[in-house]
């Protein structure tokens, strides 16, 4: 049907301006391959939900194009929407329906013939089978979250959007959820999730996208990202306190602790010269002794905060300069 390398999702120059004139998405372009797990990170109001909503048909794009498995979301909406499952950020359910009925409803709504075995499997995978006859109103928050996942999986989608799936979910459930996500991926499902928890992206995603102020500031494989943007720090515990940085070593990018007992040197692991040798030489020349040294690498979290800060500075005129959570 499609060329082998046709991405399962292609977003080209997508923009969205809401009725009030607020530009929530600015010329977004990205491609996602079949079977990938993508984590979208971004502060509150960055545009993550808007992006997902535009792809799923809940929000009307102002301009740009989106294709799913090669089909245009406007022209071939029946095909694209049948391929997509969406777990929304908000816990919205029909309180008085039973668990089983609401999942069966979702399957039908998405155009699939009834399939009891599939629904049973989905509900069992999400530990909801014993609640199948319960009214939704009697479920806990975490159960409702799982129910929304079950509804999204009811029609066997090939692309699954999870908008902050772990908000309000306990640790063990979170583990179960990642297990399900990984199983889905093994069956060829592409997963796009948003989260505020960097560890989550670090743990589960193949690629990480960072959105801020309606722009994709970066989308990269997790490992490349960590390598490329990961800064290392060399921390030196001095033998004697320094009141100020001596002129001899001032040319290095050094920070001194308040008590003058620690020097921190930040360097880029990717650059050809880390400058460590030169620094150590200069320290020796200046007669500064140290007792211990160690290095630390920045986590994805720090990378993320840095990126968002940078892009927010660039957009300081923009309406939404919220800092990362």
């Amino acid at each position: 049907m499609n060329a082998v390398d046709e991405p399962i999702l292609r977003v080209s120059n997508l923009s969205k301006t809401y009725a009030g004139g607020f530009e929530a998405l600015k010329d977004i372009s990205l491609e996602i391959q079949k079977g990938e797990i993508i984590a979208l990170l971004g502060p509150n109001g960055a545009g993550k939900t808007t992006l997902i909503s535009a792809i799923c048909g809940i929000v009307r794009p102002s301009s740009g194009q989106v294709t799913v498995a090669g089909f245009d979301i406007a022209r071939d909406y029946r095909k694209t929407r049948a391929l997509i499952g969406l777990v929304p950020q908000e816990l919205t359910t029909d309180s008085f329906e039973s668990v089983y009925n609401t999942v069966a409803f979702s399957r039908g709504l998405f155009g699939r013939a009834p399939n009891h075995a599939h629904l049973e499997k989905v509900l069992k995978d999400l530990s909801l089978w014993d609640k199948k006859d319960n009214k939704i109103i009697t479920l806990s928050g975490g159960m409702k979250r799982r129910l929304l996942i079950a509804k999204a999986l009811a029609h066997e989608p090939r692309v699954l959007f999870l908008d902050e799936p772990t908000a309000g979910v306990d640790v063990s459930l979170r583990k179960d959820m990642w297990k399900i996500v990984k199983e889905l991926r093994e069956s060829g499902v592409t997963i796009i999730l948003t989260t505020h928890y960097i560890e989550e992206a670090e743990e589960i995603a193949d690629r990480v996208g960072v959105i801020n102020n309606g722009e994709i500031i970066l989308i990269e494989s997790k490992t490349a990202l960590m390598q490329k943007l990961g800064k290392k720090q060399l921390i030196l515990d001095l033998s004697e306190s320094l009141s100020a940085l001596p002129a001899a070593i001032n040319r290095h990018d050094l920070a001194i602790s308040d008590d003058g007992m620690k020097l921190t040197y930040t360097f880029d692991t990717q650059s050809e010269r880390t400058g460590i040798t030169a620094l150590l030489d200069d320290l020796k020349a200046a007669g500064i002794q140290f007792r211990d040294l160690n290095t630390t690498q920045s986590s994805l979290e720090e990378i993320f905060v840095n990126l968002v800060d940078e892009s927010s500075e660039k957009n300081s005129a923009a309406v939404n300069g919220a800092a990362a959570e």
Binding site: I58, R60, R78, T92, D94, N101, S106, L109, G111
Partner: protein, 253 residues
């Protein structure tokens, strides 16, 4: 055509009725019985025949219309308003289903309920009076077309409304007065000429008159004019719904 989708909506809406059986069916039956007791038996015994039929029989078509209109509107408007209100509408908007299919599901269910209700009222009426129906096919046409077009109107109302007040204002402040002033419980011939003319501007008059003609062959306006106006109303409502979905009016931002 996403038939599974249409059926899913239809079934969901019908099961909502099952949960509110008392409100949906028992209440109208009781109200109708009260009408017959008060208007038909108590007051009706002092009113002479209207157009050759007893007063009790005369008001049957009006009563059916009253229930048909108010229930079609409230069923359909609530059906689509509620998902908007609780947020579950996201599923509808992201589903591979066309405007027409969504309308078919919601309006189909609302109309089905109203039609069933119409027959329940008819059956209730039969307990109190000696019913005669001259043109059952025409009667059926009026009931079905009215249920459909006012369910569509209710659907529009449900999409337009952004609070519960708006949702109840139209049935209460628009439909009920129109039904009462539309010759449901009297013949406009009983009115002074000026008010007779004013009444002709009331769309409900055409519905009541048409339905009454199918029962007793007495009418305020020609039955074909009545039928034509219901059809036109149906068409107008449907066009509005199509426009709403095309533009995403109050549904897609």
């Amino acid at each position: 055509m996403n038939l599974h989708g249409v059926m899913a909506i239809y079934r969901f809406e019908m099961s909502r009725t099952r949960r509110t059986l008392i409100q949906s069916i028992v209440a109208p039956v009781i109200t109708t019985s009260l009408y017959f007791i008060v208007f038909g038996a108590a007051i009706g015994s002092r009113i002479q025949e209207v157009g050759g039929v007893s007063y009790g029989a005369f008001i049957v078509p009006g009563l059916i219309m009253l229930n048909l209109l108010t229930n079609s509107i409230s069923n359909a408007s609530f059906g689509i308003y509620f998902p908007k209100f609780v947020g579950t509408v996201y599923e509808l908007l992201s589903a591979p289903i066309s405007t027409f299919e969504v309308v078919l599901g919601y309006v189909g269910a609302a109309a089905t309920k109203s039609i069933m209700l119409g027959f329940i009222i008819l059956a209730t009426a039969a307990l109190f009076i000696d019913l005669q129906i001259a043109h059952p096919i025409i009667m059926l046409a009026f009931i079905v077309l009215t249920a459909l077009s006012f369910s569509l109107l209710g659907f529009i109302l449900g999409i337009w409304a952004d609070n519960f007040e708006k949702l109840s204002v139209v049935p209460m402040l628009v439909i009920t007065p129109l039904v009462f002033l539309g010759g449901s419980f009297y013949s406009t011939e009983m009115l002074p000429p000026f008010w007779q003319t004013v009444s002709l501007m009331n769309p409900v008059l055409y519905l009541v008159s048409g339905l009454r003609w199918s029962f007793y062959e007495i009418a305020e306006v020609n039955v074909w004019v009545s039928l034509g106006s219901v059809l036109m109303f149906l068409l107008i409502c449907f066009s509005i719904v199509v426009w709403m979905f095309k533009t995403g009016y109050k549904l897609r931002s």
